[in-house]
Symmetry: C2
Subunit: 329 residues, 2 copies
């Protein structure tokens, strides 16, 4: 058996995925564990999820055969700056039996690499939050937004959810009958789509239902906007258009007009066949007509490819990308 094995990890807020791949493209194992973002979960917990995913991916692999590894995660820079966090990840790596070194990259770079092998380009991610990043020689260069729900994340799932509630509150203030989207938001938040005789009482119930939870949970309402937009609901369509424009605006902050490099779309709101993905593609195609638009795919495989491309025997990274990283569905 060859010892040309690489491992990749894509550590996200809700799940951690691992892949062990042979350089000839054979998938030797995959693993999945809980969310492991060290910023939100703490480095120890993140390292434990990392280890669980690694052990699953390596169940049928001799870990001493692994030549290189890459971990992609949000807040990579903060982890690397924190000796304790770094030590927790080192221990998990050793506990999985791995003897090779590993590199840590931002999740945005891994998302980018899951959509293209091009060394230069742009990645735009919209899930709970939103960020755009310029990639130069497969390193994250400048980024735009990603500033969090209070100050940024324009056009994200949080933004869509918050704006949907704001539209509902506007309807209630005006004593207008809430529209179809507003009724769904109302039912989701209060358990009923009915408005009280005093609409202000309903508005207060809505505000209390939202403020009882962490603000970021407003992103839970984003799927209601997506579903309503699919059905042509006017308020939802307007919010989707505005979100797409905001996301494209974030890209303009870091990407020159007319640049021909690829743009990769990532995050839950842009990787599916969603109205927001369609609207963002239209915005981007309008501003960068020469840029290929790609969709992020298997992050763990992309991380493994990022690890592999530094091995001395890899002379054609793009060909290896075609072997290792399945195209997005």
């Amino acid at each position: 058996m060859s010892d040309n094995v690489v491992v990749g990890l894509d550590v996200g807020g809700t799940s951690t995925r691992a892949a062990a791949l042979c350089l000839d493209g054979e998938r030797l194992g995959t693993g999945r564990a809980g969310g492991g973002n060290p910023t939100s979960h703490g480095a120890e917990r993140a390292a434990a999820e990392l280890l669980a995913a690694l052990l699953a991916a390596l169940a049928d692999v001799d870990p001493t055969r692994v030549r290189a590894g890459v971990i992609g995660l949000a807040g990579a820079g903060r982890l690397l700056a924190d000796p304790q966090g770094r030590a927790a990840f080192d221990r998990a790596w050793a506990d999985a039996g791995l003897r090779c070194p590993y590199a840590v990259h931002g999740d945005a770079l891994v998302a980018y690499a899951s959509g293209t092998a091009a060394p230069d380009g742009t990645v735009l991610i919209a899930g709970t939050g939103a960020i755009a990043a310029e990639v130069r020689d497969l390193r994250l260069d400048r980024t735009a937004d990603g500033h969090g729900w209070l100050l940024g994340d324009a056009g994200s799932g949080f933004w869509l959810g918050r704006e949907a509630v704001r539209q509902l509150l506007s309807d209630l203030d005006r004593a207008d009958t809430p529209g179809a989207l507003a009724r769904r938001v109302l039912a989701e938040l209060t358990g009923s789509p009915e408005v009280a005789a005093r609409p202000r009482a309903t508005a207060e119930t809505v505000v209390q239902a939202v403020t009882r939870r962490p603000p970021v949970e407003l992103a839970r309402l984003a799927p209601l906007v997506v579903t309503a937009a699919r059905e042509g609901e006017p308020t939802a369509l307007a919010l989707i258009r505005e979100a797409a424009a905001l996301l494209a605006e974030s890209v303009t902050r870091i990407r020159p007009a007319g640049a021909p490099e690829p743009i990769v779309l990532g995050g839950g709101l842009l990787t599916g066949d969603t109205p927001l993905a369609d609207a963002v593609r239209a915005e981007l195609a309008h501003r960068w007509p020469d840029a290929p638009l790609r969709t992020a795919g298997d992050g763990a495989a992309a991380a493994a490819w990022l690890a592999a491309r530094d091995l001395p025997e890899v002379t054609d990274p793009a060909a290896l990308h075609a072997l290792l990283v399945p195209p997005a569905a």
Copy 2:
């Protein structure tokens, strides 16, 4: 000595003010104490501030001479619905030696009454938060916005502060030299107007400086926007225009087009001679050319007037208003 004395209290988030007035207009005493909003400070603490302000106002008045009182405070409805909160206010009232009944009204009604004696009209308040309210027969009727910083307060001090930081972050994302307003915001948040060699590092410092504090403290940055707008700074002027449009939009939610009743402007951002007050006046005058625009004045005196107008000997409440409530400076 007559026993035609009334007392009024204006309980705000940062201060509590009390006034004891004779029906002939004589000011018998005033008092001031700390912030007493029962929603943010708790009813016991609010009642203690209330008592301190009352005792100061009644220092030279026999409290048994007082015929009626009104307390204006934010979250009045919540206080009245809470037996413990109501009991704390009852105790403070009795501890001040007062034997007469008192009524509790929302701070928006008191702000309205400090600007006009007209029984019907609209009040628009912008301070840390923002709310518009319709007044019918000197009762708060429908309200618009006032939904708090997470979901509302469009055009408020919080909104101005947040948008000023967002503009700064946009400059940093673009690696543009921050404008004059952005530099002031940067200096206020980080202690220095200098941008690091990697502007992203400065952006992260800014986000951390904001997220270390309660979100509502973004309103502390609003005076920077107001000052920069006074000096003609373009970003600040644009934010002021947008805030004024948002505040006027809140009014349209509850006020019919062309209505001739007065509109009272209240709250720290609209009562001074500020660029935002000017911009809001222009927006409102455009939409309601027949409506007198007034400015909120002495809330404690207005509360005392609200108490007095229900006394049987008061036959001309408007004339009494002219006696009791000094016009805004």
